[in-house]
């Protein structure tokens, strides 16, 4: 079993690597197309800005590579957003693996509950329905940091409520994605990573 973490110009790659170390899972951090293509599973992490990151993926042709992957792929945070069709962040077309779109959170007016953006901290995942999750994970709290969200859609695999109900996970064929950070979500996050590794 070999996991490839896609190396590109985004943060938190090391955190994902440390999380896999804690689970005792062999992995490489690589931008090499052959290494990525030949891995048993691929993780596409990310913290950053959508349009500049999409430009980087295009320049390096990682965009075509990611879309063509046949093994299980897990996008995390920005990775998930980039797997959608379009992001409002920089108004940029994305990889289009999921037809869903990425929109900016709008604060309610009037903002009586003092809602903050970014959505930062621990929130619950509900209606979980992909192989990343099992019934024991319904309603559990995971760690989020984001200002843009994916609307509910055909590929929603978990729902979280912040300002509105939105997709906190997606699933389509071999592609899985989480808006939250499983690598920073304590034991619940470790379980989700383990479920991905077991696919």
């Amino acid at each position: 079993m070999k996991i490839a973490i896609i190396k590109y110009n985004a943060g938190n790659i090391r955190s994902v690597s440390f999380a896999l170390d804690r689970l005792g899972v062999e992995h490489i951090i690589t931008a090499d197309p052959d290494e990525i293509r030949n891995a048993d599973k691929v993780i596409f992490p990310g913290v950053g800005e959508a349009s500049s990151t999409m430009k980087y993926l295009k320049d390096t042709k990682l965009d075509e590579l990611i879309v063509s992957l046949k093994q299980p792929v897990l996008g995390i945070c920005l990775g998930m957003q980039l797997m959608c069709s379009h992001s409002e962040e920089g108004d940029v077309p994305c990889l289009g693996i999921f037809e869903e779109t990425v929109n900016k959170f709008e604060l309610p007016q009037p903002n009586t509950d003092l809602i903050k953006v970014p959505h930062m901290g621990w929130n619950a995942i509900t209606n979980v329905n992909s192989a990343l999750f099992d019934a024991s994970l319904e309603g559990k709290y995971v760690y989020f940091v984001h200002s843009y969200y994916v609307a509910l859609g055909e590929h929603t695999a978990a729902t979280t409520n912040y300002i509105l109900p939105y997709s906190s996970a997606l699933h389509k064929n071999n592609f899985y994605a989480t808006q939250f950070h499983p690598e920073k979500s304590g034991d619940v996050g470790s379980k989700i990573l383990e479920n991905f590794i077991k696919l």
Binding site: V47, L114, G121, N123, H181, E183, K184, G186, S190
Partner: protein, 252 residues
Amino acid sequence: MLAKRIIPCLDIKNGMTVKGIKFVGIKEVGDPVELGALYAQQGADELVFLDITASHEGRKTFVDLVKRIAQHINIPFTVGGGISEIKDAEALLNAGADKISINSSAVKNPQLINDMAKNFGSQFVVVAIDAKHFDGDEWIVTVNGGRIPTEKRLFSWAKEAEERGAGEILFTSMDHDGVKQGFANEALAKMSTELSIPIIASGGAGSMEHFKDVFTTGKADAGLAASIFHYKEIAIPDLKAYLNNEGINVRL
């Protein structure tokens, strides 16, 4: 619904955890990685590690410690203390820190907030503010562990930090810190209403009720404390069960 966060703060000196009473009379209380892992297991939502001697000593020990923390702990953590340049932040990011906090260096050079946010994203930048109550609504921002008053005022400085790209504000009331009589709820509520980024309340936690008050009256997004956790006066699972019973949304 987003949970209110409980954040133990570990002050680090020479690689060990310490907690000063009003920043004077420091006592060692344990190994940071061991203590951090214990808090994570008990349900802490995040951790803050502040290198309180960073300005005076070499930073390499702290960067190595940050890497060990990142390897062993599976919840987010912030590191701070003596970060005054992009390259300091970059070393900590590469060591695995999720966020950095800047304090005195941002007061001296506010542009640092813009630069940090541009380089690493706002989510990485916590601006810590230590302030002393002066009169009425007026709070004076202090630096160097509360020793030096500045020209800046709490609310305008917090707003400026937000506009420059801070992702969160960590506000410590120097009047409340270490005395365990509750948080500076009035000032916290005012700040939370004026700003649209999360506010972490620090200084004054002495009882479980103080946390309830800081989330209700103080409208804070997170409550930070040190000694009450380090000296086992309050256990995190008990605190969370209490807050849950009081109708406050926490991660159990």
